[in-house]
């Protein structure tokens, strides 16, 4: 059975002016917030739990469960929306922020009602400056119309939202590094526990969610948690944005229910591989997710589905690689990225990432020896599990997969004294 595209989130194609307040209201905007304001906070959390929406930032933690961790109490409590979108290959949040900002604002206000939050920050990567300016205009319009600020729509709920710009550090996408950065410090991840739900921004209870997770919340309230869950698969509910980039005929952003088949996505919706070439590999969900070979992609795009083939759903944005591409080059770009972005506070990550990048560079230049292949795998394995945050692992996993699955290409580089392929 072929799964058709849906348009719960990806809906701006035929809806004009969605990014303006009037256009948004015309599409039923803020109805879910009105509903939420009449519900008991615990009942909203219960709906989000029923929806089983797993975190869209890549880790897949159920949003409702996370909301439930925030202890009851008074005083400031924060929402942080992660709009850092830096994982290479990923391009979904930028579209949501640009095309449907009020959805995110509405989702934020609902989260505030559900968990009892007093203020929120949208942490956007610095490169999104122009989007940030427009988003601030949307916030101002929402505030003026009473959807944010003091006593939202006369309900007594007070919650305001601000944009905070990062400044070019991928690590600030990691939630605790993000909090450090929000507080004006270098973005170095914190040790957990304490978890942000208990002690987050400004040492107060904090909910951190990805842009897409928050954008889906108004949908959950509109159709109900159970109905949202049923759109997807058991335990991994709803719909999600999926991306295609690289050597595919129809790159871009798509929306499907959870469980869409990855192979079908690439070959049917994506129109197959460019120039009629054969498929060589797929990086399924951002550059930290281990590459899959063509015979491994007949799987449902769910958190568990990708895990069953030794990879991860990640951000759901897949990079498609055709025959003729040099996989040593691909590995080099991936390894260099993480080496550049390591915050440096853990030795295995700092030294290991730099070492992997310089060793792969030696293969690319044709000066490596065959023995360095196993050394590379050893270094990758030694990073894993010995770091403060998951970046070390995010660097080691894709390198390990590329070297293991395309070992012959690393060997060919040694024998040829450089890159034997012309393409790439």
């Amino acid at each position: 059975m072929s799964t058709a595209q849906t348009n719960y989130l990806l809906r701006w194609g035929d809806k004009k002016d969605l990014w303006k307040l009037d256009g948004y209201r015309l599409q039923g905007g803020f109805r879910s917030l009105r509903k939420a304001l009449l519900m008991k906070p615990a009942d909203i959390v219960a709906e989000v739990k029923k929806a089983t929406i797993r975190g869209r930032g890549g880790a897949g933690f159920p949003a409702g469960v996370k909301w439930g961790f925030v202890p009851a109490g008074d005083g400031p409590r924060y929402l942080v929306i992660n709009a850092d979108e830096g994982e290479p290959g990923t391009f979904k949040d930028r579209a949501l922020l640009t095309e449907d900002p009020f959805r995110i604002i509405e989702g934020a206000a609902i989260a505030a009602r559900a968990v009892g939050l007093t203020a929120g920050y949208v942490y956007m990567r610095g490169e999104f400056l122009e989007i940030a300016r427009k988003f601030e205009e949307a916030i101002a319009a929402a505030r003026k119309a009473g959807y944010l600020g003091k006593s939202i729509l006369g309900s007594g709920l007070s919650f305001d939202l601000f944009v905070h710009l990062g400044a070019g550090a991928y690590i600030c996408g990691e939630e605790t590094a993000l909090l450090e950065s929000l507080e004006g410090k270098p973005g170095r991840p914190r040790l957990k526990p304490p978890f942000p739900a208990v002690k987050g921004a400004f040492a107060r209870p904090t909910v951190i969610n990805n842009v897409e997770t928050i954008a889906a919340i108004p949908v959950v309230l509109e159709i109900g948690g159970d109905a949202f869950h049923r759109l997807g698969v058991e335990g991994d509910g709803g719909v999600k944005l999926f991306g295609l980039s690289g050597h595919v005929n129809r790159p871009g952003l798509y929306e499907f229910p959870m469980g869409k088949n990855l192979k079908e996505f690439i070959f049917e919706d994506g129109g197959g591989i460019t120039d009629g070439k054969a498929l060589k590999g797929v990086i399924p969900g951002g550059s930290s997710t281990p590459i899959l070979k063509p015979d491994e992609i007949d799987v449902p795009m769910t958190f568990d589905g990708l895990k069953s083939v030794g990879s991860m759903l990640g951000t759901g944005c897949a990079t498609v690689i055709a025959e003729g591409t040099c996989m040593v080059q691909v590995a080099l770009r991936v390894a260099k990225f993480y080496a550049h972005e390591s915050c440096g506070q853990c030795t295995p990550c700092r030294e290991g990432c730099a070492w992997m990048a310089s060793t792969i560079d030696r293969f690319e230049r044709g000066v490596a020896s065959l023995g360095e292949i196993d050394l590379l795998l050893d270094v990758a394995r030694n990073i894993k599990g010995r770091t403060i945050c998951p970046l070390g692992e995010a660097a080691a996993m894709p390198v390990e997969a590329l070297v293991t699955k395309f070992r012959d290409e690393f060997e060919a580089h040694v024998r040829a004294g450089g890159c034997p392929s012309v393409a790439g």
């Binding site: 400031p76 290479p88 290959g89 391009f91 490169e127 400044a167 550090a169 004006g184 770009r333």
Partner: protein
């Protein structure tokens, strides 16, 4: 001469303080305001920021140096930033870099003598579905080709006249 923020920027700083529960949290936005006004962040600029926020200058320096988007030296009027990550690489970003190097006569990280252009290879810009992508200052250009980048440089040269 003693550095000062413009009256407008003083007002912006004042508004910032109301958005955060703690002064240090204004540091990143304040550094952006300073960079906008002074072009890049010298020690004097960072000291001014430190004084306004009420933080030790050393801490301002350590935060400013952590982030690549805070410039510590002059940059061309147009900063061309070409993504070289995997999705853009697969769609020909190396050819964009070559074409730009050739037409500008500079390499990665360099600035033209007239101070008009700086060229940098950058990491993924979250525009992979419309690769290859680049930014000129804060504006995105997507689905680029070597021809289009050369034309873009021509247009910017005209605009700067």
């Amino acid at each position: 001469m003693q550095l000062e923020f413009s009256a407008d920027n003083e007002a912006r700083l004042g508004r910032l303080l109301a958005e955060y529960p703690d002064r240090q949290a204004c540091l990143l936005p304040a550094l952006y305001i300073a960079q906008e006004q002074f072009g890049y962040l010298t020690h004097e600029v960072m000291e001014l920021v430190a004084e306004r926020i009420g933080m030790p200058p050393g801490e301002v320096l350590s935060t400013a140096t952590f982030y690549t988007m805070f410039r510590k030296r002059p940059t061309g009027k147009y900063h061309i930033q070409v993504c070289g990550n995997v999705s853009c690489f697969l769609r020909g970003s190396d050819r964009l870099m070559t074409a730009l190097s050739k037409t500008l006569g500079i390499g990665d990280g360099e600035t033209t003598e007239d101070g008009l252009f700086t060229l940098s290879a950058v990491q993924c810009l979250a525009a992979c579905g419309t690769a290859p992508a680049l930014q000129v200052n804060d504006t995105y250009y997507e689905e680029m080709t070597p021809e289009k980048v050369v034309e873009l440089v021509g247009r910017l040269r005209e605009e700067a006249k």
